[in-house]
């Protein structure tokens, strides 16, 4: 049963990575920028939810909503103030700005909430764990909610990008911004929308992550952020199904490495997996091969 239990835990962790990776991959696809501040939005989402429950005494589900709305607004504001003026700038300058935003969020959180870790409440306790095979296999309610949320998000995003006007506009912009503009698509608002969706997803990921690993600190988002970024590249950056595949694969690999090889080397194994995959398929598992024009 150990194997199945590890697998479930791996998929659950991977589902969180996948949700974060979706934000990375969508923003990369459309704005061609590595948004290093994305991991810190997760942290902000976690804190917003924590504060709504602990200080305002709100119902857990309302708190999650507060957190999503808060992060969406934050995402739009960051995009408007920091990234929009840099549309034409060299990509490294945008990268440095994103890093600046990341430091800004972390240090603002440090000033507001302090460096002491906060203990995040388990939001899904009331749902109860599932016990199978006479209690030999226990699946936590958090894992179930995480996986279910992931599936819902995946389906919703697929529907959104393929069926709605705004979703199609998003795909058009990531394909060719100039041509999209000529077709009457408002590129700026489409990019803002992408940031809004990505940040909202980051809030969801933040709540799920903190429910599973209940220590909340200003640096909580950094490592999951980097891992999700790796997941996005692993699956093929810019591809939505790729983010899912990459996220799940990374989560499972991490838990298995911890369980069967040793906790201390799990990070090295996860990153080695990325390198191996990129060497075999340089644009990620589901990435489109890039042909070079001379």
């Amino acid at each position: 049963m150990g194997f199945v239990s590890n697998l479930v835990n791996g998929i659950s962790l991977g589902a969180v990575y996948a949700i974060i990776a979706l934000g990375y991959t969508m923003v990369y696809g459309i704005a061609k920028m590595l948004n290093f501040a994305h991991g810190d939005i997760i942290m902000v989402g976690g804190y917003l939810c924590f504060c709504s429950i602990s200080y305002l005494g709100l119902n857990p589900f309302v708190s999650v909503l507060v957190s999503i709305v808060g992060c969406t607004v934050l995402g739009i504001v960051i995009e408007r103030l920091a990234y929009k003026p840099l549309r034409e700038a060299p990509s490294l300058d945008v990268l440095i700005t994103a890093i600046g935003v990341s430091y800004l969020l972390q240090n603002t959180a440090l000033l507001i909430w302090g460096s002491n870790p906060k203990s995040f409440p388990n939001l899904f306790k009331s749902l109860g764990n599932i016990r199978l095979f006479d209690g030999q296999l226990v699946i936590s309610s958090t894992a179930i909610v995480t996986i279910a949320t992931n599936i819902v998000i995946m389906l919703a995003l697929t529907w959104f990008t393929s069926k709605t006007r705004m979703g199609k506009a998003m795909r058009a912009c990531s394909e060719d911004k100039g041509a999209a503009q000529l077709m009457g698509i408002n590129v700026n608002s489409t990019i803002s929308l992408t940031f809004a969706i990505g940040s909202g997803l980051a809030a969801v990921a933040g709540v799920l992550l903190c429910s599973a690993y209940p220590t909340l600190m200003p640096t909580t988002g950094s490592m999951p952020g980097i891992k999700a970024f790796v997941a996005a590249v692993l699956g093929g950056i810019g591809s939505i199904p790729g983010a899912m595949v990459g996220g799940i694969l990374l989560g499972v690999a991490e838990i298995f490495a911890k369980a069967y090889i040793g906790t201390q080397f799990s990070d090295a194994i996860v990153f080695a997996l990325l390198i191996v995959v990129l060497l075999i398929k340089p644009t990620g598992i589901l990435g489109k091969p890039i042909s070079e024009k001379v």
Binding site: Y28, L34, A82, P85, L86, E88, A89, P90, L92, D93, V94, L95, I96, T97, I99, G100, V101, S102, Y103, L104, Q106, N107, T108, L110, L111, S222, I226, F229, V230, V233, I237, Q264, F265, D267, A268, F271, A272, L274, I275, L278, L279, P282, T283, G284, E292, V294
Partner: protein, 364 residues
């Protein structure tokens, strides 16, 4: 890069200005130190500043000259630092002279980092752009993770290694643990001095500026500007990209030794992703491809958080805001045009057409 009809070429003058800047800065700082004009905390920053300058110059070789984004440069720094510490500890009796011992440690640190750079470079050079960046990030994290679990001890029989625990080293009586897993290197004999740091900075600047003016350097920049065109005129692109990467790793390793031997203990966590990013910030703010810019920005940005100690709680916040504002201001089209006009009015020659510096103009 064309030489003028008389006197020194523009490149030579520019290089000499860079050397002069470094030497003058050194003399001024030395004078301030001997007159006790520096605060204690600032004096403690001198060696780290030298190490960061070397790091920035070496990363500039990859980012500015070779045009590849590397997000794991701190990994090479840590390989160098820990190699140097082990070498220095094991040679404590063989080489009593501290300066000589540090130099030997630096050679080993640089050499090991170069080997690491070569091994990492072979797979990395098959990739391009953001994919290359993420793989260097991954390698940086792997190096950190491995060093976090590395145990090294020295006894009469020699050097012992282990990846599980200090007990597993199996040392004889009187053995000394030099690197103790997550606790890092402990009980380091501090060998680094500001003078040696200065010499290393000069060396790094010398190496990079000479490379830039050489045939190989021009090949590296040609590959950066247009890989396919460079390939079509017979430049071995992989060879030259790898050359820049390995040389950069070697310099970073030496900087790591300088940095590591400046403290009595150091943890592998010090050389994490954030350190890599810190150095990248130096390079980008200083101007890509500009060695002088790297030196200045590494110095200013290391002193800045120290200078902001008065507002201790807010200093990293201010640092972040400064970073964002600098990027926004330097990329503001109105201000850019204004700057160009100011520059133009100082110039006697007729206005040159503005060159878009997308890939980074190359000047020393």
């Amino acid at each position: 890069m064309a030489g003028r009809s008389r006197g020194l070429s523009r490149t030579t003058v520019s290089n000499l200005v860079t050397y002069a800047l470094v030497v003058i800065a050194f003399v001024v700082v030395q004078a301030m130190v001997s007159n006790r004009m520096l605060t204690y905390s600032l004096q403690g920053q001198l060696v780290p500043i030298c190490a960061y300058i070397v790091m920035a110059v070496s990363l500039n070789l990859v980012v500015g000259l070779s045009g590849e984004l590397s997000l794991g440069h701190a990994g090479f720094m840590s390989v160098g630092a820990f190699t140097g510490i082990v070498v220095a500890a094991s040679l404590a009796d063989a080489i009593p002279n501290p300066v000589l011992r540090l130099i030997v440690a630096m050679l080993f640190g640089g050499g090991f980092a170069a080997i690491a750079g070569f091994l990492i470079g072979i797979p990395v050079m098959r990739l391009h752009g953001d994919y290359l960046a993420i793989v260097t990030l991954a390698f940086g994290e792997i190096i950190k993770n491995l060093l976090n679990n590395l145990y090294v001890g020295i006894d009469d029989a020699g050097v012992h290694f282990s990846f599980s625990s200090a007990e597993a080293l199996g040392m004889a009586q009187g053995g000394k643990v030099v690197i103790n897993g997550p606790q890092g290197a402990v009980g380091i004999t501090k060998l680094s001095t500001f003078v040696i740091g200065f010499v290393l900075v000069l060396l790094a600047v010398f190496v990079v500026l000479n490379l830039k003016g050489s045939r190989s350097g021009r090949a590296i920049m040609a590959v950066r500007d247009n890989r396919i065109a460079a390939e079509s005129v017979g430049i071995n692109t992989t060879k030259y990209r790898l050359m820049a990467f390995v040389l950069s790793a070697a310099l970073a390793g030496m900087a790591g030794v300088l940095y590591g031997m400046n403290y009595s203990s150091i943890v592998p966590k010090k050389f994490d992703f954030n350190t890599s990013i810190l150095i990248l910030v130096f390079v980008v703010l200083g101007g890509m491809g500009s060695i002088r810019g790297s030196i200045i920005s590494a110095t200013v940005l290391t002193i800045l958080p120290e200078a902001l100690r008065a507002v201790n709680d807010y200093r990293m916040l201010l640092y972040a805001i400064v970073l964002i504002l600098v990027m926004l201001v330097t990329n503001n089209p109105t201000l850019k045009q204004l700057w160009r006009r100011i520059k133009g009015s100082f110039r006697r020659t007729p206005k040159e057409p503005a060159v878009a510096s997308e890939g980074g103009d190359v000047d020393a």
